[in-house]
Each structure stands twice: as C-alpha cells, then as structure tokens.
Symmetry: C2
Subunit: 105 residues, 2 copies
C-alpha cells in the first residue's frame, strides 16, 4: 500500500498515510455525517472526482479497514459502503476539520 | 489560489482547501509541536519533499495567513516561519490526527 508520508514514528504522518490522499477525508465526511453511501452517491457529492480515482480510494479505505462494502443488489451486483468501528473512530478528526472550517470563512 | 475541493458550503472541504495539499499538515505539525522552523529544518524533517514543492506550500500557507516568515538574517536573507493565531487555531485538528495515529498502529 502507498505510504506517501513515510514517517513511521510520527503518529500524524501515520494517520495521513491512511487518510491523507485527496478525496479520502471527504468520503469519510459523507459516511460520517450522512450514513451509508453508494458509489453513485459519492460521485454526486464529489463532483470533481474521476470514477477510477473514487474506486481506488474506496479500495484503499477498505484495505485499511476504515469502510466495508455490503451488497444490496446481486443482479446487477451493487455495494453500499459503511464505516467500520475503526472508521468511526476518525470522528474527532472530522469534527475538528468541520469546526475549524465553520470558524474561518 | 487553488481550491482543489471546491465545495463552498462544506466547512470540511473549506478547511481542506487550505490545508489538504500533501505536506501542508506535516509542516503545520512541525511548527505546532516543535516551534518556529527554517526552510532547511522542514527539508530535513520531510525527507521526501522537493524544494520547489516545499516553497510553494509555505507560500500558500502564508497567503492563507496560517504562517508568517520573519527575517533572522539579512546577508544572506533568511526566513524563520512562525504560526499565526489562525495557524495556531488548527491545534485541535493536529491533535486529533496525532491521537488517532497513536491508537492505530
């Protein structure tokens, strides 16, 4: 897995190695503040994201055990993404980012 | 200024438009946890960063009023970077990122 920040002993860098890629935090935001989402929900919310980038981010988040995809249709196969407990534990990060954005227009 | 996340009404996206570029959070981390830093301090800390990228990030952070460069030598001209009050107010974001990284190895 890519570790773009490569600083093993720094906990901030370690967190960024999991959630520091562009869009990942906004995907977590959607799941955290709005609940389970489908691929097309993310596409609508993140209007600038390329589908292959979105797909890669979701795969990486699943590999890091932050989200899990659950099937809601078999024909055609469709997934809905949920936060895991580990993903939910990023709540304080998302709230801190939101609070700061609310104070600084 | 670049606004890669382009979601005016979302406070999380607004925060990421200021601090979401790669390396920016690690530069803030160095300033927040270790105090004022010089260009070469950042280069040593962020061993993977290209000098022109580092320079661009520092300029962007100054433009967003997160840091300020103060001269500590005139010949040759040298700057030391400090957090502004606005930059210091990102403390809860940095602490949340650090706390999560400490809990998830």
């Amino acid at each position: 897995m890519a570790r773009p920040y490569r600083q093993k002993n720094c906990p901030v860098a370690r967190t960024l190695d999991m959630i520091g890629e562009r869009w990942t935090i906004l995907l977590l935001r959607d799941l955290f503040f709005h609940g389970p989402r489908r691929f097309q929900d993310f596409q609508e919310s993140l209007s600038g994201v390329a589908p292959n980038t979105l797909s890669a981010r979701l795969k990486s988040m699943e590999a890091h055990d932050l989200i899990v995809g659950r099937s809601y249709s078999e024909h055609p196969p469709r997934l809905e993404y949920h936060l895991t407990e580990k993903g939910k534990s990023l709540g304080p990060v998302l709230k801190a980012l939101r609070d700061w954005g609310q104070r600084h227009h």
